[in-house]
Symmetry: C2
Subunit: 200 residues, 2 copies
DNA sequence: GACTTATCGTGAATTTATTCACAGAAAGAG
DNA sequence: CTCTTTCTGTGAATAAATTCACGATAAGTC
């Protein structure tokens, strides 16, 4: 398996490639590095972990690198995802343009507040959170995005895991626990802001 | 200065302490570890970087640890912050409860769309983005939160830096560049989702 | 007060990540 | 076709982070 930091950077690279795809056909490690705020040898080292066959001309062929990365990171097919918690943040995520057409199928939203569900205007099907388990199973949802308040985050996570979700992106400030075979990534805004301040 | 990873974990610890403050007066490295998904010795090592004078009874005194952390991470005073871009995400952040009363003063919001500014219902003062420079200076804002689309992120960042902001939390998927004395932290949702999937 | 238990602090060992330096490969120029 | 330039790929060197092992310290118990 890819080293954690390498995998994280490769995801960024993949994102950049998607954005510049229209531009000229090649990109160098130096260009990527400057776009990402790292160094060229870090990029090369990371990419070398993919044992990409192509080599030394005017950099990496964007299409080729993109497809190799897609395979290595398992991004070549869309993943069925759902968002739990349709408060301000959750509904913002529901319609987040960057997800759409970018390899992620947000196929459902959930909220505990029935009234809220009726009010929401979106293309995506929304359900009461009581149907979470059932809908996740029926739609074979693989990734859950948690955007509920911190006091119900663990409960939601537990249900998601039981229903067969394989990865969770947690936007709540709660520190949730999942079995080791489930991938968990935390995006805690408050913690991030604190980190920024601590480094000032 | 604290090692990066240590600082990041200490921020998490600080957050946890704020949440459990009401509970019993002590917390052990093992308890913290299990709440954060690390090990007890990592916690102890991290905390040892603070050269905390207290030691070995029933764990750390929550109040004491919290105050030492607050000092070390510079979190003991509130930081004046602003949010640029009041789309769905930006306005969600404007009213994010966790920021409020948690050491962050969101004192202004900005958007390029005048109509949107008039529509927004919030306690916080909102301005057209053309006044960004002026307002940041006048209100001595120290931290900028970027929630604009990726094609204007760099421009906003440049203005923020010019106006004297010392830290930036970037929610746009753009890879922005700032001078090395300015702290930058990226929260790229798409990249995070990709990372989750890549680890599945 | 002695014994037991729980916990910390930290130097040393290990693992992981980053950085460097340079050989080798292609493209462009003349 | 040869020279020059620009890149890549990667082994070796450094640096950083994590893990381990264990002595030491307090609190609780009897």
């Amino acid at each position: 398996m890819l080293p954690t930091n390498t995998a994280e950077r490769l995801c960024k690279i993949y994102g950049i490639l998607q954005m510049i795809k229209k531009d000229s056909g090649y990109v160098s490690s130096k260009e990527l590095a400057s776009m990402m705020g790292t160094t060229d040898f870090t990029i090369r080292k990371d990419i070398s972990a993919l044992n990409l066959v192509s080599f030394g001309r005017r950099g990496y062929h964007i299409g080729e690198l993109s497809s190799v990365l897609g395979k290595a990171l398992q991004l070549s097919r869309p993943y069925r995802s759902c968002i739990v918690g349709l408060g301000r943040l959750g509904s913002a995520l529901l319609d987040y343009e960057s997800f759409r057409g970018d390899g992620f199928d947000i196929v459902a939203g959930f909220d505990s507040n029935i009234n809220k569900i009726e009010r929401i205007r979106t293309q995506i099907a929304v359900y009461p959170v009581s149907e979470l388990d059932q809908v996740v199973k029926n739609k074979s949802i693989e990734v859950g995005i948690i955007a509920v308040p911190h006091n119900s985050a663990q409960e939601v996570a537990t249900t998601l895991v039981k229903s067969g979700v394989k990865g969770i992106l947690n936007f709540s400030p709660a520190q949730i626990k999942v079995p080791s075979e489930v991938v968990l990534y935390n995006m805690d805004f408050t913690s991030a802001l604190r980190f920024v301040v601590s480094q000032i």
